[in-house]
Every structure is written in C-alpha cells, then in structure tokens.
C-alpha cells in the first residue's frame, strides 16, 4: 500500500516535470503564435497588440501558474489556431489515437505470442534460422517505409482499403477500426518481430534450466514442459517488454498518422508545434506523458505480481 502511494506520488512528480519542460520549451523556441496567426499581415505593431491580447506578454511563471491552475480544473485553455476550447478539440482526436494504439497492441499480442511460442515447440534449426533472418529483416525496415509500401500494395493494388477514406470512430466504429488495421500493422510489425525474438530467447533460456530437465526426466514432453512450467517464467520479461512497447506505441503513431492521413493526436501535435499553438501542445504532451507514466506504472505492478522476486519491502 505504501509502495503504491509512493509510486503515485512519483508519477505525479514526473507529470509536473514534463509539463514544466514543455512550457519551458516554448519559452525558448523562436517564433510565437501571433506571427503565424497574422501571417503576411504581421507588422511589429500588430504582433505586439495580439501578444497582449493573448496574454503572452506576461512573465513565464505567471503564465505557467495560470495554466497549471486551469489544467487542474480540466480547463486547458483555448487553441490559438482553431479558436475553440482545447478539451473540445482533443476529445475526438484522443479516441482516434486510442483506437489506433489499441489495435496495434492487439495485433502485437495476438501475432507475436502464438508465433513466438509455436516457433519454440520443436527445435528445427533451419526454421529457426529462417525465422531469425526474417525477424532481423523486419526490424530493419523503418515503420513509415512499411506504411508507404502497405498503402501501395494493400491500398492501390489489392484494394483492401481505400487510402484517404478514414472515417472517425464516432461515426462508424467498425469501419474506422477496419481502416486502422493497416496503419496499426505498420506500427506493430517491427515490434512484433522484437517481441517474438524476446520471447523465443526467453523461452530458449528457460529450456536450458535444471527444472526443465527435471520435468523431462519425469516424463513430460517438450510441449507439456512448455505449457506447465517454462511459459510462466518466460512470460515475465516479455510482459515487461510488452509494457515498454505499449508505452512507446503512441510515439510510433505520430509518423504513421502522417503516412495514412489519420487525424489523430500525433498529427495534431506536429501541426500545433509548427503553428506554435501552445495550449494544444501542452495538453497533448501532458496526455502522452500520462499514458507513458500510467503504462509503466501498471507494468511495474504487473511485474511484481508475476515475479515475487521483484517485490520490494
């Protein structure tokens, strides 16, 4: 209980640091939203006027405190670009990115776990080597390149999906999910390869241990040994790895969203940075950090449950 409380405090601290860093980042980046908003109408005077109107001429800590105060009440301010409340702006996007991440994770788990385990059932040297080679190859391909190739092959040649016809989940959930399978796959592919490799290494490592030999001597077949003993142990580092993967899946989606024109948080983040739309960027950074922190925290807890050795006093 004490541990959980301490963990929560740590997570909160991390979030505060992240939000501070993001605020700081915008303080030092050249260019502020006023110039972009005014565009080619910008002159020195109009810029100054707009800055005052948006409250950008207040000192740094005053602005940060004001933002923090609003954020704690759920008010993230108004977007400079879209002139609408940030929470309203993000509401739809979160759903899209969440769906994309969920589908990616689902794909990773449903493909890598069975594949990894099945490849360990029998020792087949040539298959193992081939699997290793394929693994290496897949990990070497940049995800956005995969995305481009997929759009070409699955989108144009096979017509399994129509590029650019994204429908948002609130309109048609299943069609949205169906479209997202392809970007999700592009994100998932290298991570599937990594998880499979991890799992196989882990399983193979366990198989050399004494207790497995004991199991064999008691008459268990390899398959039985696997199911009853090895997997339980091999799964622990894999779960840790999967958790780490889940945490950085959202980061992976940023580039892929560009390739497949999926209007999620990643794309919004990039354009908002380019437009110096601070309130939106702050909010998205906080959300992304929250996701990473939560997933890592959950992974730690899960790890503890699975592996009593890791329990700390």
């Amino acid at each position: 209980m004490r541990y959980t409380a301490k963990k929560l405090a740590m997570m909160l601290l991390t979030m505060v640091i992240v939000s501070f860093l993001a605020f700081l980042a915008f303080q030092i980046i050249p260019g502020d939203p006023t110039v972009r908003l005014l565009g080619t109408d910008a002159t020195a005077e109009s810029v100054a006027l707009l800055r005052a109107e948006l409250g950008l001429d207040r000192p740094f800590f005053v602005r940060y405190a004001a933002w923090m105060q609003g954020a704690l009440q759920g008010d993230f301010g108004r977007s400079y670009s879209y002139a609408m409340p940030v929470s309203e702006l993000l509401a739809g996007k979160i759903g899209i990115t969440a769906l994309l991440t969920a589908v990616s994770f689902l794909l990773i788990v449903t493909i890598s776990l069975p594949a990894g385990i099945l490849l360990c059932v029998r020792e087949h040297p040539r298959l193992d080597r081939a699997a290793d080679a394929v693994n290496q190859l897949i990990m070497a391909i940049p995800p956005f390149f995969t995305g481009i190739l997929m759009t070409l092959v699955f989108g144009l040649m096979l017509r399994w999906f129509v590029p650019g016809s994204f429908v948002s989940p609130s309109e048609d959930f299943w069609r949205s999910a169906a479209y997202l399978v392809f970007p999700a796959l592009a994100i998932a592919l290298p991570r599937i390869a990594m998880t499979v490799k991890m799992l196989r290494a882990s399983v193979r490592g366990e198989l050399t241990k004494d207790y497995v030999r004991t199991a064999y001597s008691r008459g268990n077949s390899r398959w039985q040994a696997l199911c009853h003993h090895v997997l339980r142990n091999a799964v622990v580092p894999t779960v840790a790895f999967l958790a780490m993967t889940a945490a950085d899946l959202v980061a992976g989606s940023v580039v892929i969203e560009q390739v497949f024109s999926v209007p999620g948080l990643g794309r919004l983040l990039l354009t908002s940075i380019a437009n110096r739309d601070f309130p939106v960027v702050q909010a998205i950074v906080v959300i992304l950090a929250l996701w990473v922190v939560l997933v890592n925290g959950a992974a730690d807890l899960l790890n503890q449950r699975l592996d009593p050795r890791l329990r700390l006093s």
Partner: protein, 517 residues
C-alpha cells in the same frame, strides 16, 4: 503433426484478422467503374481535397491564411464581390451609385438577401460589419484596408429608407469600391470564429480540425443557387497520401496540385490549369550589401533562367513575370516587362565584375521548407547563381521561423516566396514597396516610387491611377528590386463527370457553379 497444425492455425488467425477487416471495408462505398464513388454522385455531393487545414479562426474580419480565405469565399459576401473576370459584381447590394464628385456612395440592398441563420439582411448589419471590419483590421495591421475604409465618415454612415446604406468620404478614391468586398455579418451574432454565418451560396455545417469542413447549399440564396447539395473539404497535408487518395477515387476535386502529382493520375480526372495569382521571386533584402547595389541585382536577374526553373520544377507549367504584378491583374499587367532581363550568363558575369564583385559573393536564400515548389525552385536558382560565381545556398526553415525572422524581423539576405493579394487592386501588390510601409520586408527605398504612390493615392479617376501604378511597376522592374520568376501554375484535378469550375484572378475556390454532368 501437432506443430504443423498449430502453425496452420496461427496462419489462419493472421489471415482472418487481415482478410476479415479488409473485406469489411470493401463492402462500404460503392465503387464505379473508374474507381470513383458513384454514391456521391447519386447524392449530388463532392469531396474536395485541401492541402492545409483551416487552422484559423473562421472570423471573416480576422486574419487568416490564404487557404482559409479561399474557402470562406463560398460562405461570405460583401456589398459587392469579385467576379471571375476581375470585375466587381453586386452581391448584398443590388446596385450602387457613386456621386459625380466621387464623394458619396449609396448602396441599395437586395430585398431577398438572407443570412444563413434565416434572418434578413438589414442596413444595420451592413453598418455593423463595416465598423467591425475596420476595428479588426486596425489590430491586424492590414494598413491598406484600414486606410481605405477609414476614409468613410462613420458618423455619417446612415441607413436610408427603402433599404439603402450611404456614406461620404473626404477625398475621391477610385479603389475604395474594391475594398467593399469585406464580409457582411449579422449584427447580433457571437460565434463568428467557430460557426460562420454569412450570405453566400453555401452555408457552414461543421468543422473537424485536421479532418474536414462540411458545407451545404444555402437554399435561400438570393442568386442562382449552388448546384451541389453538399461539399466535404477534406484535409490532406501529406502530398503522397493525396495522390493515393486521388488514385483510389476518394476525392472528386483537388486544386493546387504540382505537376509531379498530376503526372501520376490516370484518365479518370481532367486536369485544368490556371495560375496561383501570386508573384514568386527571389526577394532581396536591400539593406544587405551587396544587394543594395542595383548593378549587382541586375546581374543576378540576367543569371536567372526562368524557363529552366519552370521546366525543372513544374514540367514547364507556370507563367513568367517581370515585376510585382501577376498576369491576371489584366488592368495593370505590363507584358513588356517580362523579358527585360533575358537569360544571359556572360552579361551577368560582366555586370557583376563591373559592380566590383568579379569573384562573386556568398548568398543565403531562406525558404520555407514545407512548401515544395519554393524549395525546388531554390535548388535550381542556387545552381544558376553558382554559374556566375555567386556562392548561393539554401537556408530551409519552418514557416513560423520564416515569418518571425524573415518577414517581420527582416534579418535575411534573400528569400524565395510567393506574394499574393487579397483583392483585385494593384495597391494590394504594390504598396508594400513604399519605403515606410510596415510590410516592406525587403527594405526597398526609392523616392521616385514613393512619390508616384502618393500621387496614386490622391488620384481622382481610375485611368489616372492605373497609369501611375504601371509606372511604379516599371520602376520595380528597372531597378531590379527582386529577381522575378513566375506566377506558379495552379493545377486542378477534377473528376471527369464534374464540371463548372471557374477561375478567378484572386486566390479563391468558387464552388457555386460546380456540378455533375
């Protein structure tokens, strides 16, 4: 045995996941024989691809990017509006009269013009709109609009009987009428920045940031109703994704394509060509030596091979220009200026040596990295300048930095960009080169030019004013104010069975007359 079966199961699982989902998406959306969606045709609606999101407040009196402005053209109208040939046509006002001495303007409003929320347009709305506009314009630094509209004596702005609005001005201004294209908005309406409400042929339905904007036909439009029921403007920021969407038939109309993109499209689309109505040039900072030397600038003009640029960057599409007026401003454009400095490497080197730089000099050309046509042009220009000994290099930067450092901060040597105008006046293009103008980012200073401008502002009739503007245009060319290149080609892909798109001399996308055949 068991292993083979298990592997087989795994394979089936994978196929099921992919295939099932794939099949599902195939079922949705009827596809015509050429891949384009027949469902949309049956519903009389189209999907338009736009390359940039409308990341602006939708307030028509506010500052906004050209992309937002071109869409809002369908939603808002002023007392008058610009027609396809550059002439003004009456919009909210059914007719107007300017007195003999040019000091009194009277507008008779139409009886049947309504706002999208159903309210009838009254003289109060017009007065409110003009005042609101000038207030906003002042904050925005749009000096042209401010000085034009502030000539109106607002305390004498009256709503007359039988639905007229009239006002007086102090000095005659033949250009004032062109500035009265500013939007007329309802006086009692609050949410202009997120929910537009105007008098145009289309009304605003919804906006989903980064995804789309939806417009629908306004059935109570005073004029000829729009042909289409519904228009969805979908945002495609990635050029490749855009081409893929076009090839897959998800998009019916797509303006502002590059030659490389249109080359990849099949026969399902007709490609229409027009110009972007801007002046692309290498803009030179006159406060930086040696660019303050006219001979140096002229030498550089001779080194630029415009045809090669257009060939390399856009397959030959584009229209060369010689000064800061683009060709479709027909009232002012002087074709003889275009070839004032024909491509001549020898002459360029000669002039450069004459000016005292036989070994050339270093030149950094700032370019917004996200706009590919300018980046590509920059690469070609760099090679052309190197050929005469100038050590040119491209300095890519993002748009916010460019606006901040180059446009407002004016700390640059040279930059490649396109300058356009908000309305069909020469003033919009030329006034920025007056020495003390707030937007004179090239720091151009020429007393003769300033004097001519002052005269143009005081001009009483249009002919006189036009002549003065043309003289100013000539000076810009003669003094090689910038290295003028072209008005970029605007390639529009439109599906074969869609027609009716009209081109304008300003940056607008008029959807009113677009219809299925």
């Amino acid at each position: 045995m068991k292993r083979k079966f298990a592997l087989f199961l795994a394979l089936c699982l994978v196929c099921a996941v992919l295939g099932g989902c794939g099949g599902g998406s195939k079922r949705g959306g009827a596809e015509g024989s050429n891949g384009l969606d027949d469902e949309r045709k049956a519903n009389n609606e189209i999907v338009v691809a736009i390359p940039q999101d409308l990341a602006d407040s939708l307030d028509p009196h506010g500052s906004m990017s050209a992309g937002t402005r071109e869409i809002l053209f369908n939603i808002y109208e002023g007392l008058v509006k610009t027609g396809p040939d550059g002439e003004l046509i009456p919009a909210v006002a059914e007719s107007y009269r300017i007195s003999e001495d040019g000091l009194t303007y009277t507008f008779k409003l139409r009886e049947n013009v309504k706002f999208h929320n159903g309210a009838k347009v009254s003289a109060e709305d017009v007065i409110y709109s003009l005042q609101r506009c000038i207030n906003n314009a002042g904050n925005m630094g749009d000096s042209a609009l401010v000085s034009a509209l502030s000539a109106i004596r607002y305390d004498e702005l009256v709503a007359g009987e039988d639905n007229t609005v009239s006002f007086r001005i102090d000095k005659p201004n033949p250009e004032l009428i062109y500035f009265l294209t500013v939007a007329v908005v309802p006086a009692d309406y609050d949410s202009l920045d997120t929910a537009p409400c105007g008098t145009g042929p289309f009304r605003f339905v919804s906006r989903s940031p980064q995804e789309s904007i939806v417009l629908e036909r306004f059935d109570d439009y005073w004029g000829e109703r729009a042909a289409l029921d519904r228009v969805t403007l979908r945002v495609y920021t990635d050029p490749t994704a855009l081409v893929l969407a076009l090839k897959a038939g998800s998009v019916d109309l797509c303006p502002h394509l590059t030659a490389a993109q249109t080359a990849q499209l099949g026969t399902a689309y007709t490609i229409l060509e027009d110009t972007m109505n801007l002046v692309q040039a290498v803009y030179l900072n006159h406060n930086m030596a040696p660019l303050d030397n006219e001979t140096v600038r002229q030498a550089m003009c001779y080194a630029i091979n415009r045809q090669e640029i257009m060939d390399m960057v856009a397959d030959g599409h584009g229209v060369a220009v010689g000064s800061s007026i683009y060709p479709k401003l027909t009232r002012f454009f002087l074709p003889e200026l275009v070839d004032r400095y024909p491509y001549n490497v020898e002459k360029a080197k000669e002039l450069l040596a004459q000016a005292g730089y036989p070994d050339g000099f270093d030149l950094a050309i700032a370019v917004v990295s996200s706009y590919q046509p300018h980046m590509d042009t920059a690469e070609v220009v760099v090679e052309q300048l190197r050929a005469i000994g100038i050590n040119a290099s491209v300095q890519p930067m993002d748009s916010a930095t460019w606006l901040n450092d180059v446009y407002v901060g004016r700390s640059f040597q040279a930059t490649i960009t396109g300058v356009d105008a908000k309305n069909v006046t020469a003033r919009a293009m030329l006034e920025r080169f007056v020495s003390d103008n707030g937007k004179n980012f090239i720091n151009y200073s020429n007393p003769e030019y300033d004097a001519l401008y002052a005269q143009a502002m005081a001009a009483v009739n249009e002919a006189e004013q036009t002549e003065l503007y043309q003289k100013m245009e000539t000076i810009l060319c003669d003094t090689a104010a910038n290295l003028y290149i072209q008005d970029l080609a605007d390639l529009v892909a439109i599906r074969g069975d869609l027609t009716g798109l009209r081109f304008y001399p300003v940056y607008v996308l008029d959807l009113q007359t677009v219809h299925y055949e």
